[in-house]
Symmetry: C3
């Protein structure tokens, strides 16, 4: 499970960096809390962070359950796919939000495979 | 713990479907990213997804700790109550947000029982 | 690990109370769902809750991995620092959002130490 822990730590630190980038965008574009909307550049940084958390909330438990009930090495690989997906997502989104589908899809794929894989694995181990 | 894993997978997939429904509402009502507000129907889909994640973030760790320190079968049952609650919540919210209390309350109840139960169970096992 | 479970339960209940305070602010300032913006007091309550969830999503897995791969007692202590940080954050934010840095920083510090500590601990146990 060590590799799953390594990949999870990287995913958490990635989300932390995205949060930090929102903080920097707050300063640069002078968007004072509690406002969460401002110039387009700020809005894009804000939404990539939010969307990353929305996926991360599903990915972390799904990846660990998949590691336990199916295979730990495949779980770590899917976790890495997730991290790459979120980086692709942010890069595309900051340039043009309409190009965010690929990065989004990689993360979504990793989540669905882990969640459905766990469902099958856990049910099989009950039966 | 297999049943807890089964119920958790279902809860994660439920949140994933809610996210997908927001994406469909984006297309239907032409709400382009990074905007997160638009026609009332879109806003309702957006908020039910957000609120589900807000509760899911508390429910998943609370349910697993409760399973470990108190009882796994009761944890799975409370997890199922949570999933039913979120479905009731979404159904009611999409028709009329003022009727969201019951569905919200079921999820909140499951969270509070799991968190307080864990607190008591873990403290008792320390003493 | 019992202390980590105790601290996690407290952190989850703290976030639950913040959510409840948003609900009360909805009633007091008459901000009807699905709206998420209203008078400044409501906006502050809303954002402190959101920001607490944004950090909690990273803290819970980071703290448990740190407990497992590094030290459980230090993990529980960092968890306590996180809870104190979020309380300081909310208290400051509700008075004046510009004074939120200290409370924010305590939570961020706890997250970074847990995530980087886990990364180092897990890699060392692989090598």
């Amino acid at each position: 499970m060590e590799w799953v822990a390594v990949v999870t730590s990287i995913a958490l630190l990635q989300a932390f960096v995205f949060a930090f980038q929102v903080g920097m965008a707050r300063v640069r574009y002078d968007v004072k809390a509690p406002a969460t909307a401002g110039p387009e550049e700020f809005n894009r940084a804000f939404r990539t962070h939010q969307n990353t958390l929305e996926q991360l909330v599903l990915m972390v438990p799904a990846m660990w359950m998949f590691a336990w009930y199916v295979r730990a090495d495949v779980a770590a690989g899917l976790g890495l796919l997730f991290v790459v997906g979120r980086q692709v997502y942010r890069g595309a989104y900051m340039k043009n939000p309409d190009t965010r589908s690929l990065g989004f899809g990689l993360g979504a794929l990793a989540i669905v495979v882990c969640a459905i894989g766990t469902l099958v694995g856990a049910v099989l181990s009950i039966v």
